[in-house]
Symmetry: C2
Subunit: 135 residues, 2 copies
DNA sequence: GTAGCACCTGGAGTAAACTCCAGGTCAAGA
DNA sequence: TCTTGACCTGGAGTTTACTCCAGGTGCTAC
């Protein structure tokens, strides 16, 4: 597969694909004799994995380290597992924070829906109460 | 409250607090006659809200717009609600992506746990099979 | 009233993750 | 063979969200 095809398949720019390879986020992609990238299934697998991880906010740094460990072979299995668990924990934490934010957003939206959200409205109401009381 | 106190309270640097105000992520903070920031409860509320939203990955751009709308008063209530809903939807989408990534991480970790994960191991096993067959 | 520390502003610098570009190769069609 | 369009590399530029700094001001304690 050419870089253009892979780019289209995963909706990642060719520049980004080259960049990912350059920094070691994916292992070296096979080349034609002319030096042009010829992505195989394995390369695509890496790309898909990284797309998934990156969308979830996993740091490129950590992913590069994972790939480096992977390329060092079986002796790094424990280290790789460790790394994945660390990333999973961070992910779980981030999701919890997002849930908090989501609850809050839903709350705010609901209050807007009921038309009693804004401080302005509340202040206005209080003012009206005061005026009523005085009259 | 001084900026140092607020900084400590929310674990946000004074520089960041000034930056947030400068770019309009929070409305202007009240000042002492000498020009020094004197955060009141309302300011703190904004800061806390923004801390929560930022941690969840909500773009500063959108939050600035929300604050701007807020400061324009009641006529912007619909627009604000719209904005919040848009952000909520994005948040929900991101969380779904993260869940996907989390599932995948858990899957990978589990396979490492069972010691049958690595392609190396699989290849090795296949090689052994072949050798056995040949001998 | 002056030393010293926290605070102020405007602007420059930084980190992460791309994104773009110049100048040069590769390869398929006319 | 020549053209043309996709691809190559190394390096510079961009965006987002801070973070740092220089030069100056405001309080508080001596």
């Amino acid at each position: 597969m050419t870089i253009a095809e892979v780019s289209q398949k995963y909706d990642i720019s060719a520049d980004t694909l080259r960049y990912y390879e350059r920094i070691g986020l994916i292992p070296p992609v096979p080349r034609t004799p002319g030096g042009i990238r010829d992505y195989d299934e394995e390369s695509c697998g890496w790309i898909e994995l990284m797309k998934c991880m990156r969308k979830a906010g996993v740091q490129i740094e950590a992913l590069i380290e994972y790939v480096a460990l992977f390329q060092k072979g079986d002796v790094t299995i424990d280290a790789r597992k460790e790394l994945l668990m660390e990333q999973r924990n961070q992910l779980v934490d981030r999701m919890a924070e997002m849930q908090e934010s989501l609850d809050r957003l839903n709350d705010k939206i609901e209050r807007y829906e009921q038309g009693l959200m804004t401080k302005e409205k509340l202040l206005q109401r209080m003012k009206q109460e005061r005026e009523k009381g005085q009259s």
